[in-house]
């Protein structure tokens, strides 16, 4: 296959960036998108040019490191797929593919396609946990959890934190990411004691970090590599409303 890659190049956070075109020959349909990037980088290094920076690690769709916009879609045109699991057989010979970094005020660009997603960590630090000190746990079967509840919690827990939801949201909102964590822990009996505080802390932190609001476009769900449903956003809103009516946000406590 022959392809043209148009890739966002930006030297650093404060430098100006722009798209640069790279014609590619000899692309195999069995290559992953990132392997094409590897190949391009090898060529760039050989030519004495600066290789393209992009985040990637496990290359099996679970670590959430990789991800950029591929021709206008986060993680590219295939549903339920991360960038590393996107294979070139889904493109046509002669295609021009545009690769841009995930964009959001909360995701400043570091270099080329690499963005700083530490804001997502901060949302989790605000309340995305159950405070259970090591050693304090009762027997695992002391608490029975209906299978459907556990399964639904797992649906939400599957989030890999890649940030695609933020990237495609017209409002740069992290509602799906936040709702997935609140949904996962809120569905489980272990998560009940901190449920309201969790909703308050995480949602308020999301606002504070400069993420936008949800306008219910549903773009996030459409690009989520793990298919997390926006129903969890509705649940989160409910939790947040209830919490706002009954509790005042408190800081994280020692466990």
């Amino acid at each position: 296959m022959k392809l043209t890659l148009k890739i966002w190049r930006q030297d650093g956070p404060s430098q100006k960036g722009g798209l640069a075109a790279y014609p590619m020959d000899d692309v195999s349909p069995d290559m992953s998108f990132l392997e094409v990037m590897d190949m391009l980088n090898e060529q760039l290094i050989a030519r004495g040019e600066r290789p393209i920076a992009f985040d990637h690690d496990c290359r099996e769709g679970i670590c959430g490191s990789c991800g950029f916009m591929i021709s206008g879609e986060a993680h590219g045109p295939v549903k339920l797929t991360t960038t590393c699991q996107l294979f070139m057989r889904h493109f046509r010979d002669g295609d021009t593919i545009i690769a841009e970094p995930f964009r959001s005020r909360a995701f400043p660009i570091i270099k080329d396609l690499v963005v700083d997603r530490s804001a997502l960590d901060k949302i989790v630090q605000a309340g995305g946990f159950i405070s259970a000190r090591t050693g304090s746990a009762p027997d695992a079967n002391a608490m029975l959890i209906p299978k459907d509840k556990a399964d639904r919690a797992m649906d939400a827990a599957a989030c890999i934190g890649c940030g695609a939801c933020v990237a495609v949201c017209p409002n740069g909102s992290a509602m799906l990411f936040t709702a997935a964590k609140i949904g996962h822990l809120g569905l489980l009996p272990q998560g009940q004691p901190e449920r309201r505080q969790r909703a308050l802390r995480m949602v308020n932190k999301m606002d504070e970090l400069g993420f936008g609001a949800c306008s219910n476009h549903g773009e996030c769900e459409a690009v989520c590599p793990k298919g997390i449903s926006i129903d969890f956003i509705a649940c989160m809103n409910r939790d947040y409303m209830r919490a706002s009516a009954t509790e005042t946000m408190e800081p994280v406590k020692r466990v």
Binding site: S28, P51, E60, C63, Q85, D121, V124, A137, D139, A150
Partner: protein, 638 residues
């Protein structure tokens, strides 16, 4: 050097409990004065950092990923073992201990493994308390499955994402401590040097991977939970960033490296599609429960799978191992696959693959049953290969997956350098010569949540925070300078070959000569070639960019440089261990059935290697292995 494993005296069942009583305690009010560095944020490092933070220590945690949640533990699929006996199938601490020792082919310490089995139940409790959504039965109890040929169902799982869920649990516990300021998190930081003075670990030197800044961090103890070194083989199931730099730097500073040649191959991975292949993807071994493995009888048979009649197929595992058949252990089925491919009977690109065929199972059980059992794996396979396994057989091939070897540690998980602890895959302790499925997660979390937080206090109680070095101490200055020198050497070589091309060559050399099967000739050949490749690397590598910047090529170059040195040690160890055991299969030593033939009289010990300089033969120290509770037996899967 005398290796003292510091195994507590007394009966096996009470060693750990007695040890917990005997270790010195740090007064809770004093704990905040102690600084502990944890490198790595996976199951071991993340759970250790979180727990040490809870205990009140002043913890700094470093990881090369952009978030602690992305450590490679996240990619573990199958599950986590624990001796809970929830299935009432006669499981027990002793049985898990027995299975682990036997699975490790009697090359691990009894006391460590027994403790691991004891702690395993508490690990599950802790994970559930943190909200890990393990699979449940309809009554609400935890579900279990049997895994990796175990006779009991003791594996807990969360769909095919157990590692992810366990890691997110540890990450959430870590996040609490970060929010409280008890743990300071340093993502996108890579440890490049360990600082040791007077035999004590004093801290580390790290590189900020965004700015390129080199900084020193001093502590009263350093914990390495940096995972394994499978990526020395270039193509493995590990993440692209997984590396051995932290443990290798520690090794160069005096930490002994134990059993480096114990590397594990996973039999069911998707074969490489071509030269461009950047990593290999593992598929759950559970596929072998219903799939039949075969290759054409004739070498060079290029017909499509569906055009090959039954009479021209060789179901070689069923033929060679009638009782276990397609479920023969990992190493046996891996070697068998290599053998048929070496005979020219392999399938797919490059002839490196064997068929895993579900046609018979689909015919017997129906497609819907197979879809229910393996639907997600079939989807994953199709995503990667573009082939529909309901219609045609999968192609699989073994790949490097896990390393049992690692830095030598005593019962306290402390290396031979005082104050340097090594946990999880980075140490050598529990899996012997072969790890059982679903035991890696168990060990990582047992080390991090329960064992290290207890044993590290014993050391800290004997040192004073006032003795902690300042980061402007000469030792730190020197270490920083070493890092900078090495970096500028890499950047200034300005040769003609990329880092990746060297890595591929090194990987191929190791895979072919020190992979699934090893023999003296191949090992000697590797031994001769590695130093030449290393020499060319330093002379002819081309690393673009600068040190004071986000530079992924430079990161890779540093890691590959360390693999170049480690590779030689792997080969030394494989050559020295003139027996077959577990995953270490020396062709010269096999039974008539092609089984690994152990030589207990000569090799019932842990090989702990001491660094003596690049290109110098490392010094071997032996820790004898004594089996008081289990009888050494030869396994048979006929």
């Amino acid at each position: 050097m005398e290796l003292n494993a510091k195994i507590p005296a007394g009966p096996m069942e009470t060693k750990w409990e007695k040890h917990q009583f005997n270790v010195k305690l740090v007064n809770p009010a004093n704990r905040r004065k102690y600084k502990v560095i944890v490198v790595g944020s996976g199951l071991a490092g993340g759970s250790a950092a979180a727990t040490l933070g809870q205990l009140g220590y002043d913890v700094s945690c470093f990881c090369y990923q952009d978030s602690a949640r992305r450590a490679h533990s996240i990619a573990a699929q199958g599950g986590i073992n624990a001796a809970k006996n929830y299935q009432n199938d006669n499981d027990s601490v002793f049985r898990l201990f027995h299975d682990t020792i036997k699975g490790g082919d009697f090359r691990s310490r009894e006391a460590n493994v027994y403790r691991l089995a004891q702690v395993s139940a508490a690990v599950i409790d802790q994970c559930v308390a943190l909200g890990v959504p393990f699979a449940r039965e309809y009554g609400g109890c935890l579900a279990n499955r049997s895994f990796g040929g175990a006779q009991v169902s003791r594996t807990f799982y969360a769909r095919g994402q157990t590692g992810q869920q366990l890691l997110l649990g540890a990450y959430s516990a870590l996040s609490v401590q970060v929010a409280l300021g008890q743990v300071k998190m340093y993502p996108r930081h890579e440890m490049l040097e360990l600082v040791v003075t007077d035999g004590h670990a004093r801290g580390i030197v790290v590189r900020n991977m965004v700015t390129g800044e080199i900084t020193s961090h001093a502590a009263d103890a350093v914990v390495l939970g940096t995972g394994g070194y499978s990526n020395a083989y270039c193509l493995s199931t590990n993440a692209k960033g997984c590396n051995a730099t932290a443990i290798w730097r520690a090794h160069r500073k005096g930490a002994l490296f134990a059993n480096p040649c114990f590397t594990q191959i996973h039999p069911t991975c998707i074969p490489a599609a071509g030269e461009h292949q950047s990593k290999l993807t593992l598929m759950s071994e559970s596929l072998r429960n219903d799939g039949r493995i075969w290759v054409p009888k004739q070498a060079g048979d290029r017909r499509n799978a569906w055009d090959i009649p039954e009479s021209d197929r060789d179901y070689y595992l069923e033929r060679k191992y009638p009782s276990y058949g397609n479920l023969a252990p990992r190493d046996i089925s891996s070697r068998a696959a290599k053998q048929v491919c070496d005979e020219g009977r392999g399938v797919g690109p490059g002839g490196r693959g064997v068929y895993l065929d579900f046609a018979e199972a689909i015919g017997r059980l129906g497609e819907s049953v197979i879809r229910e059992r393996y639907g997600n794996l079939f989807e994953m396979y199709e995503q990667i290969t573009g082939e529909n396994s309901y219609k045609q057989p999968m192609r699989i091939y073994p790949a490097m997956h896990y390393v049992m070897g690692g830095l030598w540690v005593d019962y306290n998980l402390m290396s031979n350098i005082d104050g340097l602890y090594v946990i999880g895959e980075a140490n050598f302790s529990d899996h012997g010569a072969n790890r059982l499925g679903a035991s890696a997660l168990m060990q990582g979390l047992a080390d991090g949540y329960f064992i290290l937080p207890c044993t590290i206090g014993d050391y800290l109680a004997r040192v004073s925070p006032s003795d902690r070095l300042k980061t402007d101490h000469a030792a730190f200055r020197q270490a920083e300078q070493d890092v900078k020198d090495r970096t500028s050497r890499l950047l200034s070589a300005d040769g003609t070959r990329t880092v990746d091309s060297f890595h591929r060559e090194l990987g191929a050399l190791l895979w072919n000569n020190c992979g699934m099967e090893r023999n003296e000739k191949g090992l000697r050949e590797a031994m001769a070639k590695i130093p030449l490749l290393r020499e060319e690397f330093w002379r002819n590598v081309k690393v673009p960019g600068s040190a004071a910047d986000f530079n992924q090529s430079l990161e890779k170059a540093g890691r590959v440089a360390d693999f170049m040195e480690l590779a030689e040690l792997i080969v030394y160890d494989a050559l020295d261990r003139d027996e077959s055991c577990g995953a270490h299969f020396r062709e010269e030593h096999q039974t008539a059935d092609g089984e690994a033939a152990r030589d207990d009289a000569r090799f019932s010990f842990v090989s702990a290697w001491e660094f003596k300089g690049i290109g110098q033969r490392p010094a071997l120290h032996k820790e004898p292995l004594v089996f008081e509770y289990l009888q050494l037996t030869q396994r048979s899967y006929k």
